[in-house]
Symmetry: C2
């Protein structure tokens, strides 16, 4: 969706190391935003994005206008049931349908051999893997690690919405994940305890409001499992993060 | 879906005349059948189909098993809103979602330059045209005329379900379309009159039970328009037929 940061550029770097040609799509997709969400104010800076991509060695940028992607009368939607229903799917009705639809169109337009997504949006990646398998897209979905700020905050174009105080409060997500991973490494396996550790750290932060904090199976996104997934509102900004507790925290 | 008849073979013939290579898919698609519909008893005769296709000059047959198309865990569905909602969409909930999903997969597997469908399933064709445009499939959808028996009955693999008495009653569909087309040719444009002509002819047939008989816009499948569309149960067999009244009856 543009507003490129080092997380996006790590995808480009990985793609460049594995492919002859790298295409980046830049498209703020209206149908994956719900009513009242931040479609209008989502950051857009095509000029800055273009120069970052040129420097990163991107061969081609696919930057279609909304009216080309969704002309009048268009009405087809791709829905991934099951894995897309809980968590982000429940919190943002229609979100994954918008994602699955636009990714189908982007796959069709670019016909990539491999497509690169960030682990930051773990459930989105799972939805896209399911979609690619189910609709027989001849694409290999590659997942790249979450890139973090030095204090642990996962990079996100939405971090720019945060006030300085909120920016400080936002570290609570990665801090909670780190604490749960430490408990896991010490042998803690009880789901309610791991969830309790996540919630306690998040709820200690007055500017944060937990939407969900769960430990789920990374294949189904249902409990029980080892993938800690968080959605937290910091001020009016909604942030997500996740960590496979069995793999531990790094970055 | 196999159980090939002369309607299918006319699609092959058209395809052969316009392309170097002709691929036919043969797949009775479980997800486009509703509960209580005829998925189990739908006619299947792969041997006969294969010899008909060989004789018709088909280069390749794609005949996947159900478990390959819908392996355990698969959960993605393609939904075409709007044009797929009324008429067949209302009478058979989930039907067009099943059609749109399997056609997406077939398009992905075969990557055809052109795909051939029969006018007999007019709304299905409209759904597929919408789908192909919306998901950017690089395919040209070609529509071939309905092939009819000498007495007017549109060819359908389901005609084989009819008893001799039902087979006679089934001519009421094409007879109703012909009467409406004659009225249209004589200047009749009042929707309720055209619909009345359709219904009167169908209701004169004791073995027929009308599901819908409407005159709709061929682009939206909503009234008003010039496309007469029928769904009629003859005995326990559900038959459909259609005719653009402005083009008249032939065949």
């Amino acid at each position: 969706m543009g507003a490129l940061h080092a997380g996006h550029l790590s995808l480009v770097e990985q793609a460049r190391s594995e492919n002859a040609i790298v295409v980046v799509s830049v498209f703020v997709n209206p149908i994956q935003f719900g009513p009242g969400e931040d479609f209008e104010r989502y950051p857009r800076d095509a000029g800055r994005d273009a120069s970052l991509m040129a420097r990163a060695g991107v061969d081609s940028v696919y930057h279609p206008p909304v009216a080309a992607m969704y002309p009048p009368g268009s009405s087809t939607r791709v829905h991934v049931a099951g894995i897309g229903d809980p968590l982000e799917g429940a919190a943002r009705p229609g979100h994954f349908e918008g994602v699955a639809t636009v990714v189908s169109k982007l796959f069709m337009a670019v016909e990539p051999d491999r497509a690169y997504f960030g682990q930051k949006d773990a459930q989105q990646v799972a939805v896209i893997e399911r979609l690619a398998a189910d609709l027989d897209f001849p694409v290999e979905v590659r997942v790249c690690p979450t890139v973090r700020e030095p204090d642990g905050l996962a990079l996100s174009s939405r971090n720019g919405y945060l006030s300085p105080a909120e920016r400080q409060a936002a570290v609570s997500l990665s801090a909670a994940l780190r604490l749960a991973a430490e408990a896991f490494a010490s042998g803690e396996r009880r789901p309610e305890r791991l969830q309790g550790i996540l919630r306690a750290r998040l709820e200690a932060e007055p500017l944060a409001r937990v939407e969900y904090a769960e430990v789920v199976d990374p294949r189904t996104f249902r409990p029980p499992g080892t993938l800690a997934v968080l959605a937290v509102r910091v001020g009016s900004t909604r942030l997500i993060d996740n960590l496979d507790l069995s793999k531990g925290f790094s970055g």
